[in-house]
């Protein structure tokens, strides 16, 4: 996936709001890339553009050489907020994307639920699940279409620290098993360096890529290892240049 000189502005009542100003980067197949940046810097906008939910003002995004199009590319989106269909059971939620895309086969759904630690919850409705479980279902639903690209928009932001920690480990394990290309947006620095191959640090709005950091540590990683802590410090310092009170 390639992003070249991406610009995006919105027209608001107060005038033109520039959100992205010349963002360029690349994500290789099977790579896990995080985007961190100050709150409201346009990370979510970027993800929506990459996912083809919105179109750029100028610049180019290509996935396998073509502009992103949800009906063309297989994309898996995981949102920050509650995004499960409340009238569907866990099983039916995970099947949703497959139904839309006309993909047959129930076995894959079962395997995925097993892998995500959702066995025994197949018939539950979302309101019966905890926040962490809901996000597991959301991830399973995104993975169920066997996506070319998994787009995750602060998927763990609303979870408590402990649950988030467990999901980090699980996501790492699953990513190693399925080797999907992931673009992961977060404002949590610890999360970004722990999970990713590379971390893109964004500037304040209008956002550009400020720095790209390669993590380059073998998995499984230890959040408190010297290497990760050093990287965290580096990212935080970069962000402090943008937002002094951080």
């Amino acid at each position: 996936m390639k992003v070249e000189d991406l610009h995006k502005h919105f027209l608001t009542r107060e005038g033109r709001l520039e959100v992205l100003k010349g963002v360029s980067f690349e994500v290789r197949e099977g790579e896990f890339v995080s985007v961190v940046g100050p709150s409201g810097c346009g990370k979510t906008t970027l993800l929506r553009l990459v996912g083809g939910l919105d179109s750029p003002s100028s610049g180019r995004i290509t996935i396998d050489g073509k502009s992103p199009d949800p009906s063309l590319h297989r994309l898996g989106f995981v949102f920050q907020e509650d995004s499960l269909f409340p009238w569907r059971t866990v099983w039916e939620n995970v099947r949703f994307g497959r139904e839309v895309r006309g993909m047959e086969g129930e076995r894959e759904v079962g395997e995925l639920l097993e892998r995500m630690g959702l066995r025994g919850f197949e018939r539950c409705y979302p309101h019966q699940l905890s926040g962490g479980m809901k996000q597991r279902v959301a991830i399973a639903r995104a993975l169920a279409v066997d996506p070319d690209l998994l787009l995750m928009d602060e998927p763990f932001a609303n979870l408590d620290a402990q649950t988030r920690w467990i999901l980090h480990q699980d996501l790492t394990r699953i990513w190693e098993e399925v080797r999907k290309t992931i673009l992961f947006v977060t404002h949590n620095v610890e999360e970004a360096v722990y999970l990713s191959d590379r971390v893109l640090v964004f500037t304040v709005r209008p956002a550009r890529v400020k720095r790209v950091l390669r993590v380059g540590l073998p998995r499984p990683r230890d959040k408190l290892s010297a290497g990760l802590v050093k990287l965290r410090k580096e990212v935080v310092e970069l962000l402090r240049e943008e937002v002094p009170y951080l």
């Binding site: 949800p70 009906s71 063309l72 297989r74």
Partner: protein, 258 residues
């Protein structure tokens, strides 16, 4: 719905009090236009077993009224739900039709009656009056249900490459369904409340509304009250049945209110 079942004692206290008050007032007033509890119960019994002055029994009246209401209600569902979905999806259509729909909404079915007498005949009169009562609650609930669909859920659907039609079918309508159904329940209730107005002009001699009108001409207040109570009880039962159906149908929702 207030859950009375837990405190059956308290639950029966209030109706009992109302009955007592009614009886006491009736004895104080001591007028044939203010029947007591016993008299009305006796009239109900007479209506059930022997029928009214024309020998039509209470359940026949109720059944005819029910069929008329269900007819008008079905028509209201068939018109209001598709229209509501369309108006909920298309802001433009909603805005354009608002200046027409909004004033019409506040014209009571009773005000339509002279016009209905002149323009319609037979069964159409019942259908129209009841349709008028049931239509707006269903329409408005459908619109708001559709509009209240979470944008995130729509995006989820889009992100999987679903087209507009698929998204409406798989996301928008299912998410609006509880509100549509509760609109239907309210609509049925309002339609039922229009039964007297509808039967005022329907011509036939059978129906709960007709029963009340018949006896009001004869100044038989006890019979009138018996008819009123029947309308109330049948309405309550219909509401209860639908409420239970909703609870079963929308088990995925935490609660169904009212």
């Amino acid at each position: 719905m207030i859950r009375f079942s837990r405190e059956p004692l308290y639950a029966s206290l209030l109706p009992l009090g109302v009955l007592l008050l009614w009886e006491a007032l009736s004895r104080m007033v001591h007028s044939s236009f203010f029947p007591g509890v016993g008299e009305v119960l006796g009239s109900l019994w007479t209506l059930l077993t022997k029928g009214d002055v024309e020998g039509i029994r209470l359940h026949e009246h109720a059944l005819h009224s029910l069929l008329r209401v269900l007819g008008g209600f079905s028509l209201a569902c068939l018109t209001a739900i598709p229209l509501g979905i369309l108006m909920g999806l298309r802001e433009g259509i909603y805005r354009l039709s608002k200046p027409v729909l909004e004033p019409v909404r506040f014209i009571p079915p009773l005000a339509w009656i002279p016009l209905v007498i002149l323009l319609l005949s037979g069964y159409w009169r019942y259908l129209f009056v009841i349709w008028l009562g049931a239509f707006f609650p269903i329409l408005l609930n459908t619109i708001s249900g559709i509009k209240r669909t979470s944008p995130t859920l729509v995006e989820v659907s889009r992100s999987f490459g679903a087209g507009k039609g698929t998204t409406v079918k798989k996301v928008v309508i299912p998410s609006a369904l509880p509100e549509i159904t509760s609109g239907m329940r309210v609509g049925l209730g309002v339609g039922w409340m229009c039964i007297v107005a509808a039967e005022m002009i329907g011509g036939e001699r059978v129906g709960l509304g007709r029963l009340i009108l018949k006896y009001s001409e004869l100044l038989r207040v006890d019979m009138v009250v018996a008819g009123m109570i029947t309308i109330g009880v049948v309405g309550l039962l219909m509401n209860e049945v639908l409420l239970r159906a909703e609870k079963r149908l929308f088990i995925w929702r935490r609660e169904v209110s009212l």
